[in-house]
Subunit: 782 residues, 2 copies
């Protein structure tokens, strides 16, 4: 439907209109003030160059539209006593949201030095885009926000994540027409097929078409209106169009559209949305230096750029500011006058004060069961095989059951929960799905808490929104394709790093990745699915936030997952296999090993306690651990007098210096594990140079030799993959022989035997397409 | 419009129908054969377990639909003598496209050992998903393909990239309903607003709804049909619906839809597209072990999983294979019979033989002008300031002019060409735009060759498609947001690595990134826009493909860009500033310096030729270079007897060992530049540990001390950013004093002075919001 702005809907009284417009003008005034002023905030004297900031950094264009939405949301929240949250998507929306938070008082409650008076207004203005102050974007520092408006694309998936399991909550989401061009945003429109009317809240998208990005028109603002309308209906929405540039008319139309939308949400009809079409930089200078500005791309940033030097610009700025009639809006102390605040709700209903935007306040610990109930019995290492992720699935099933009423735990993934062997969870809950269901479908569930869509971006956005509003979750993903969300997780890590320094932000549950279907087991997918570099990406980010684990078997996976699910304010990356693999540690041993993060597996080595070993075989990751143990076994058989130590690393950050990562080992600990002078052959799951980057400061680093994935891959068997990348048991034995002083001659026949085994492998696989029987049937004999 | 399958459109004769169906059956037979068989390919004897592959890896579900599309495209191409290319989007589509290429003969021409006879068919079957053979996806090894069907999301943007500047070309693009859920695919629908009817070809999307992903229904297959139709109209298309499961009916409907679509394309009407709705695993087993398979998610992979062990499964497989009547399709030598090939076009018209899919064959060298015409005059270092990317823009303008008729060069970017200071190009061409144009718009151009959309994914996809079909281009992007395409560029690098080993694939133009608006200059965007890690990501990939450059000034940027634009089969990443910065090198010096990739700047240091320097100050990146030169100047003033060497690194891979990267230096060269025993203070643009990861094998590594971005950022000035990250001139001088033996006591007063300067900075910026005058007004006095 179209809300015709020519017909006043009658719902808005003149008094309401006056108050709404006053609030909107006040917010606009404060937005302009933040961009330009560092003194004389109320224009109590004529504007002079020294009142203007030395560096004009900021963006006016999007502010009046956001101010309009905030003003009208205020009214609706107050009138309906709504539980509401708003996601502010547009870039550089900072001035608007800050202005509104200051007006409603939530800003001063959060930041007591920014008082709701003249002094506070001055500080509010000065801090904006000022060194060490607040950025131009809506950011972690912004009260009422769970969404950074810097990198665009994630507003709508964040909104849906916030709405999940929050019945009664309305999440408004302002989507800029720039952001609407991004892939992640385009995909997330279909999130409405996953929203459970019974257990979830509602999302109200507000597509704000102000027509321009930085220097270009936007696609959605320039396609024919019937095409846009069809598109939004195609997304499953009932669009309500609000278009105009006359404030009173738009106020009436917007109020009517919002009332209509909220009525529909209450009736659970086809989900409404609003298309708000207003000029970019609305109410700003119509023309500057003879060129049109308001309503054009020229209004994107600072419309009057030379205010300090150009008296015309200065005069225009003063006119612009005075056009909002500040004397009508603020009292002599600089506080907003009562009629400005007539539409503003109270207490936690204020958009800047909702606890949903500070989710840690609402967070409850997950009811995690004792791990012993799911542990794999291990009497001796390597005697049994299990699929680690399948065992984890049983733990997750229990968590799903335990949260059936609380509904604060979800699993997301791009159609891979079952493929990743977590299907036990389906005994406790199904896959969220509100579209058609056929007889042949399995595990689809109108109320399910597993979320699957073939969009890593949408999965990530949902989970982020869910966590940021105080709940728990897990993202299960193919290892290689975690890179799809590299940039999203960047932003989430940056968010956490900043919020950890904000005392008013309560800690939230960590974002937990389970990366499986990993580089070494892509038997039919081949090269395109082989990339272990997400870990490298993560480890570039703030050490206080990032944690990376390589559990080598089922019980260590349980221990690590338990730890991750209990943790707060981290991004935990767990890399684990889904294929049957040997169980090395009992649950008790696994807990102790994971608590240390790295340790000697005495049972696997041949050293005695009287002296340092001749060589250290280190490993991180399930497949490298298998190859290291097989190499240790070969060494025990062929070179029985060699003192071999086997070290397994679960928590890869342990390798870092203790002053670079909270989990980093002291040199004393590191040297105790790896020695300072013995060769260390390190078999690592990913790119080998990562280990060097973590350990380069250690005394023993010159003796560290790392094997890992060298970006050599194809469609082939697991063992062929390790052979191609020189990570196989035979190569590791050769490495030992090559690096232990004095062994080269004595062990030459053994080395030849290893070479021969590799050649035998190549011949066998060409012929049979399978691995050598001695490899396929290998077992630990220790 | 809807093509009603009940009304035979009359266009297809019975003979054509018979031939189309025979071709489709043959392709289906060959697809099943690839998944299961390694002997007895023509079923000349009853099927026995030993004919079956030991590991059944492959995906049947998508194959019959792809085979249908290929069969019908063949007919249309032949009937209309079309110049056509097809992008095969669906995952695991390998068996289908390989089957078709083998049928049409292009496969045997590309791989002469896979002949079009019984022996060749056996090899075709065996290699599929076999160790070292071909993957389940359409891949670089697949003739006729420019698109890997592994990671999903990029088919449609690739199709548009291929169509640009290829008038007369029709690019069909099969989009799976799984892929359609991804963000990059969802964004790329709007590419039709950028296609110039005069200079570009046409794209025909074929959305294939087989209903299921791995284990789930797909969103687009389960929303109401009118909603789907509205969505596609909203994307600007005229959808033609083909639905059915009766082969003859679907053949008639598909032929009619394709004819209608191609007629519309010829008439340049509203762009058509086809929605093809057929069962997943169509013509496969209807039921296995009592459960429905055909038309369900169970048909996704290998429908009969236990063929070697379960006689029922074996019998069912044989029935299934024989249902295609192979004796009617293949002659006694195993070649396809004539009626099977009646619809197949000839020569380069075959989809597996089009030169557009082997773009290097069509590639012409770019007409690059002499750099001297654009060079900045440099009589002495540091005397003038220029914006490097603005200078590069002038070179690009010339390239745009020189290719005005050839139309084989494009610039893509997410609405940042002007923001990145490349606007000179607008004097030569505008921004491609086919939607509405208003008076206020600038540089929009129906025929423009600059492509801007706020989707890094779409930009990347367009450029990849353009390069893969034999043209040239540049992607200009904010440094931090290059991470958005991490996973896409992974796939492109993998593609190049594989194609470099395929003798039949001709080299294509490199994919060139200009990363600007970088980490050190985010004065108002702040922390969310600060990430220099794309380079780390790139350097994890195949060294033969990746190149990374940090030109320190305008002339070096020209030299590096010239090199990148001339190169082939690389991914070049150029990190360069857009802000005014000092010119250090003349054009001649810049060329020599860039050719070496790293070198001593004698004019900047204080060493004499008689002995090794006391310390090496190294730098990579424009801001680090500035700080290093300022530090060198401070050292010259305060510690004049210290022998300082300044080394600048442009080509960061030069630091790697020569056996790890083609650009890597020998130890001899490295030691000559950096010494083996003197302290090296390295100021690097990005994360400091990258330099350690590149240089850890060098003898001098224990003396290497790197400063860089430590993920500490906020909204602040450029100099405050380097201070916060300990990369500033004062800190570098302190590092020198701390690390040069014997200097600690003697230079203690100088060190204190540096400390004081940092404190002065902190106080000044808090007060003024700007940088210290001594920093703002700094200039090189050498």
């Amino acid at each position: 439907m179209s809300v015709d702005p020519r017909h006043p809907p009658g719902a808005l009284t003149d008094e309401e209109l006056t108050s709404l417009d006053a609030h909107w003008r006040a917010a606009n005034y404060l937005a302009v003030g933040q961009i330009y002023l560092m003194a004389n905030p109320l224009l109590t004297e004529p504007l002079r160059p020294e009142h203007i900031k030395p560096r004009l950094l900021g963006h006016w264009g999007t502010s009046p539209g956001l101010n309009l939405v905030h003003t009208h949301l205020n009214r609706a929240v107050k009138a309906r006593d709504l539980d509401a949250l708003c996601i502010w998507g547009p870039g550089h929306g900072g001035p608007a949201v800050l202005a509104n938070a200051w007006l409603e008082g939530s800003y001063s409650e959060t930041y007591p030095d920014i008082t709701r008076d003249t002094q506070g207004m001055t500080r509010l203005f000065k801090q904006f885009s000022f060194p060490g102050g607040v950025p131009s974007h809506v950011a972690p520092e912004t009260p009422g926000s769970i969404h950074e408006g810097g990198e665009l694309g994630y507003s709508l998936s964040h909104a849906y994540g916030a709405a999940l399991d929050n019945p009664g909550l309305v999440v408004a989401c302002v989507i800029g027409d720039g952001e609407a061009e991004t892939g992640p945003l385009a995909a997330s429109w279909h999130s409405n097929k996953f929203l459970d009317p019974e257990h979830d809240g509602a999302v109200l998208p507000i597509l704000h078409l102000n027509g321009y990005k930085i220097a270009n028109p936007t696609v959605l603002a320039r396609i024919p209106e019937d095409e846009l309308d069809a598109l939004l209906r195609g997304y499953g929405h009932e669009p309500l169009h609000v278009t105009g540039d006359d404030p009173a008319t738009v106020h009436r139309a917007m109020a009517h559209a919002l009332d209509t939308a909220l009525d529909r949400i209450a009736e659970r009809g086809r989900p409404p949305m609003i298309v708000l079409r207003t000029p970019k930089g609305w109410t700003g200078p119509a023309e500057v230096d003879g060129l049109p500005v308001e309503g054009t791309w020229r209004a994107h940033q600072v419309p009057l750029a030379a205010v300090r030097d150009n008296p015309d610009h200065l005069r225009q700025l003063e006119q612009w500011l005075r056009s909002y009639r500040p004397e009508d809006l603020f009292d002599e102390n600089g506080g907003p006058k009562p009629h400005v605040l007539a539409c503003v709700p109270e207490g936690k209903r204020r958009l800047g004060a909702t606890p949903h935007a500070n989710g840690g306040l609402l967070l409850r610990s997950l009811p995690l069961p004792p791990l012993e109930r799911f542990a794999v019995p291990v009497d001796k290492p390597g005697a049994t095989l299990h699929e680690p992720t399948r065992i984890l699935g049983e733990l997750l099933e229990d968590v799903m059951r335990a949260t059936a009423d609380r509904r604060d735990f979800r699993i997301v993934g791009p159609d891979e929960t079952e493929s990743n062997r977590l299907q036990a969870v389906y005994a406790a809950t199904g896959k969220a799905w509100q579209a058609a269901i056929l007889d042949v479908d399995e595990h689809l569930d109108r109320h399910g808490r597993v979320m699957e869509i073939l969009s890593e971006h949408t999965c990530q956005g949902w989970l982020e929104g869910y966590l940021l509003t105080g709940r728990h979750g897990l993202f299960s993903c193919y290892e290689a394709f975690a890179h799809i969300v590299d940039s999203m997780v960047n932003q989430h890590i940056k968010w956490l790093r900043v919020t950890r320094r904000l005392p008013w932000r309560a800690p939230i549950a960590s974002l937990n990745y389970l990366l499986t279907s990993h580089v070494w087991r892509q038997d039919h997918n081949g090269f395109s699915h082989q990339d272990p570099g997400f870990v490298d990406h993560i480890l570039n980010k703030s050490p206080e936030v990032v944690r990376v684990y390589f559990p080598p078997d089922a019980n260590t996976l349980l221990s690590v997952a338990d730890h991750a699910l209990r943790s707060r304010d981290y991004v935990n990356v767990i890399v684990a296999g889904k294929q049957p693999s040997y169980d090395w540690l009992s649950m008790e041993q696994a807990k102790a090993h994971c608590a240390r993060g790295a340790g000697i597996w005495e049972w696997a080595g041949t050293e005695d306690s009287t002296r340092d070993p001749d060589v250290v075989l280190a490993c991180a990751g399930d497949v490298p651990t298998l190859e290291v143990l097989a190499a240790a076994q070969l060494l025990r058989r062929h070179l029985p007098r060699l003192a071999v130590r086997v070290v397994n690393v679960v928590d890869i950050a342990r390798l870092m210096p203790s002053d670079e990562h909270p989990h980093g080992m002291s040199d004393y600990e590191y040297d105790g594990l790896f020695t300072t002078d013995r060769p260390v052959i390190f078999a690592y799951h990913g790119y080998p140079w990562l280990i060097h980057r973590l350990a380069y400061r250690r005394d023993g680093h010159p003796h560290l030799h790392v094997r890992g994935y060298k970006e050599i891959g194809t469609t082939t068997t697991p063992f062929d993959m390790v052979v191609r990348n020189d990570l196989d048991r035979y190569r590791l034995v050769m490495d030992v022989i090559d690096r232990v002083p004095g062994l080269a001659v004595r062990a030459a026949p053994v080395r030849q035997r290893m070479e021969d085994a590799r050649l035998r492998h190549h011949a066998w696989i060409r012929e049979h397409g399978t691995d050598l029987p001695e490899v396929a049937d290998w077992s630990w004999d220790g």
